[in-house]
Symmetry: C2
Subunit: 498 residues, 2 copies
């Protein structure tokens, strides 16, 4: 399921003043040295392989201290290194991957070591728990000895500084710990979506990371930095990009996800609620409300988001998902946050406009999508959990009426099931919004608990219990197994459920 | 045909005073920037390949200045680089090589480029004329652009400083130029055997390089450095190793070639004849004569080198070659140089011993190897060109008698033909020693001229016109096509033939 946006001659609009404030909030990364849990300096002949387990997920820089046994090395040692977040990845054949995202993401390196003893420090950052080293060749005169292996692991935060959950179900404690580890690994110079792949600031992921950060690390400088980055490099017409490149001069990607853009005012309002940062309100207000204004401008005569807007929505990786109701739901979900911003900024006119748009939009959505006979929301003929979730979050029906449809669709098989943990987050949010606390807890335990049951140290980019080997990219070898949008159990456990 | 020496717990005997004098003669390498002869910054999609021709053989460090076209890069670019001294090498499949020397010598690199634009400088030195760059993958959002490619080429000498041959056959001028280029490429911090592979100081190659250097670059400091290195790190029993490791703390390899060791006093005597360096005579005399003394101690009751000595001889890569006569010939060839050293050093006793050993050895060799009925030298039942060459160079028969056997064996097919250019050198030396100047010139033109006819920019490690794809290593992909022991045509042309 390819999802690629290419805009010819795209030049993002960069605002130096905003980018400078982003730079002012650049974190100093914490460094920790990690070594394999069990290590006995191996002597390796050509063809031999050794694997190490670092005991936990690491994001960082690998160093191998190498020497030899036998005669003086008379040829380069040729090594292949493979990195894996999960041990299962070593079963995959890199050469068999022909998916639609780059083979460059496959975490392996080919190294020539011309001189021994030698200490090799890889310049690239890797995300992994397991490391495999294969000696492709030495010469017949010597064998390679690995004297020491270590990782200089990096993160903007220290996960051990968050007080662990206690006095509750051990499974929930474990889920919380894995979620916090996931978030910590993704907190680098920006909130990355995943440290293995992309390594970029994605808006949909960011809003969820900021939520969890608010109840754990409370590193608001990094949230501020990212809010300024999104505003500081945007589309020429002020749309906020779905993701940014921040390695080098910050640059908006030429990808716009209409639903993600609506989460910018949400994330800003949530940040302000926690920090009361008036400078940020002043600097970022215009860009934030511009996202809502554009969405309202892209509604049809009935007040429903138009086809162009829907086509640009992400919502989920589910193939075939009809997204009109969901995307409309995101708009209705975001408008109240827009009102909060407008009120904070003394913008009574916009507050009134958003209030009116919300009321009109909810009524229009009810008319367009609610099927009272079936008791479900129907989006252009399709009944999906996604539509129920976002119509519920959009407040289209009173709590009691939405509840039934939501619970039924989340428990029944669907042709367009939830795929990404990102949408599972909103399923929980929706359940809690209609008071279904038990169902939310059950969903959390079964979905995120399912990853924990399969040995997750960090939560995954993709997890479909019905199709454990699914990948939206045409091959699981490029899936990310530490992914920001999966880290929200800690938000629910610490803020709502316990 | 594997040829590997492994001595358990081998610790070379290093002499700090000698190694310090070697270090004092470390050359400063000359650097030249080389670019492809024809270059138009290509834009490469995944799967696309481009090749560049640098117009001449280079030894050095590659830099690629990379950028992109299309959207901002959203994934690493994954590149494969392959280097070739000859264009034909690109037809070879690296994965099919399973020979007995390391796959690590195959000249290719796999590169991840995480950020673009970026300038990639490879830390490893490569020897090549042609470079191939394949984009294995980018993402669908961008293509890789190669803006510029250059090589920082290195050598201890500048081949343009040697006056080219003139007023003679253009083919001979070309052979001379190729030979000088070959030598220049191999003159780095030591006289390397080949800049692609091994990159080490081999004694047999060194003696030939020093010969050619004497009539071309006259860089005697580098010769002195290498003479001191060979003496400065040797076997614990004072044998000189077949080769040294000089990248890092100098270290003798645990390989002893009995014939190579005999060439150390030869090379020293030749160096002294050109420089009159009394310090070198004083410092190196003992080690030089020790090589001859050991050979004499390893002769049997008749004065012929014993089986252990013969087993340790290199002579040539020819499989099945019976080496007793050849190895005895090397001893007889070296003894007169030993006498020169003894005389220079006022060591009358040794001079007398060597004179007596020479006379006795020649007589013994004539008795043992000369078949008057057949008019050839026979080594344990085998008639080979190698035996004729070395018995001739050893002066076993008067010039007139040796001449016939030598010329016949060099012109007839043999089951043990000459393989390496190294032995071809001694064939020429033998022809000249018996006054066969025309035959020597003809051999030079046909053998080295054959490489030139096939487009050689530098002379090759291996060249057998009857088997152009031969490799002693189980695969031509690891053959070296710029190899020191092939550079001697310039010595013959400049010293003897023209």
């Amino acid at each position: 399921m390819e999802r690629i946006s290419i805009i010819e001659n795209f030049f993002p609009k960069n605002d130096p003043a905003l980018l400078q404030k982003a730079e002012d909030n650049l974190p100093t990364l914490l460094e920790t040295e990690l070594v394999p849990v069990s290590f006995a300096a191996p002597t390796l002949a050509p063809g031999e392989t050794v694997r190490w387990d670092f005991g936990t997920h690491c994001v960082g820089y690998l160093t191998l201290q190498l020497s030899f046994s036998g005669s003086h090395p008379d040829a380069p040692a040729l090594l292949r290194l493979r990195f894996a977040e999960r041990l299962e990845e070593f079963m995959e054949d890199a050469s068999a991957y022909h998916g639609w995202i780059s083979k460059g993401w496959i975490a392996e390196e080919l190294l020539h070591v011309d001189r021994l003893p030698f200490t090799v420090s890889l310049p690239r950052r890797y995300a992994f728990r397991y490391l495999e080293c294969t000696v492709i060749d030495t010469s017949r005169k010597f064998r390679l000895v690995v004297d020491r292996v270590w990782v200089r692991a990096v993160s903007a935060v220290d996960p051990t500084r968050v007080t662990p959950l206690e006095r509750t179900d051990p499974k929930l404690c474990r889920i919380d710990a894995v979620a916090i580890k996931t978030l910590a690994e993704c907190m680098q110079e920006v909130f990355e979506d995943g440290p293995k792949r992309d390594r970029r600031l994605w808006l949909g992921d960011f809003r969820l990371q900021a939520l969890v950060n608010g109840v754990t690390f409370r590193n608001f400088a990094l949230v501020k930095r990212c809010l300024y980055l999104f505003a500081g490099t945007r589309f020429p017409d002020d749309r906020i990009a779905a993701c940014l490149f921040t390695d080098g001069e910050p640059a908006a990607d030429d990808t716009w996800f209409s639903d993600y853009a609506l989460l910018y005012p949400v994330a800003l309002a949530e940040y302000l609620a926690l920090t009361d940062d008036s400078e940020a309100l002043r600097d970022l207000y215009d860009v934030a409300v511009a996202q809502l204004d554009r969405a309202l401008a892209m509604t049809d005569a009935d007040g429903i988001v138009n086809a162009d807007f829907v086509d640009a929505a992400f919502i989920d990786w589910s193939p075939g998902l009809e997204k009109t109701a969901s995307t409309m739901g995101v708009l209705l979900y975001a408008l109240p946050y827009g009102r909060v911003l407008a009120q904070k900024n003394g913008d009574a006119l916009r507050d009134a406009i958003y209030a009116e748009a919300l009321e009109r939009g909810r009524a229009a959505a009810k008319t367009r999508f609610w099927d009272p006979a079936k008791g479900v929301f129907v989006s252009n003929g399709q009944i999906s959990p996604a539509s129920q979730i976002w119509m519920t979050l959009g407040g289209v029906l009173p709590e009691a009426s939405a509840k039934g449809a939501l619970c039924r669709l989340l428990s029944e098989p669907s042709e367009t099931p939830l795929v990404a943990p990102y949408l599972h987050h909103y399923a929980l949010e929706a359940l809690l919004s209609v008071g279904k606390t038990d169902a939310a807890m059950e969903h959390l335990l079964s979905y995120w608990g399912g990853m924990v049951d399969r040995g997750a140290d960090t939560f995954w980019e993709i997890w479909n219990p019905e199709a454990p080997d699914a990948s939206p990219y045409g091959g699981t070898i490029v899936n990310s197994y530490c992914h920001a949008w999966s880290c929200t159990p800690s938000y629910f456990l610490r803020n709502h459920l316990l």
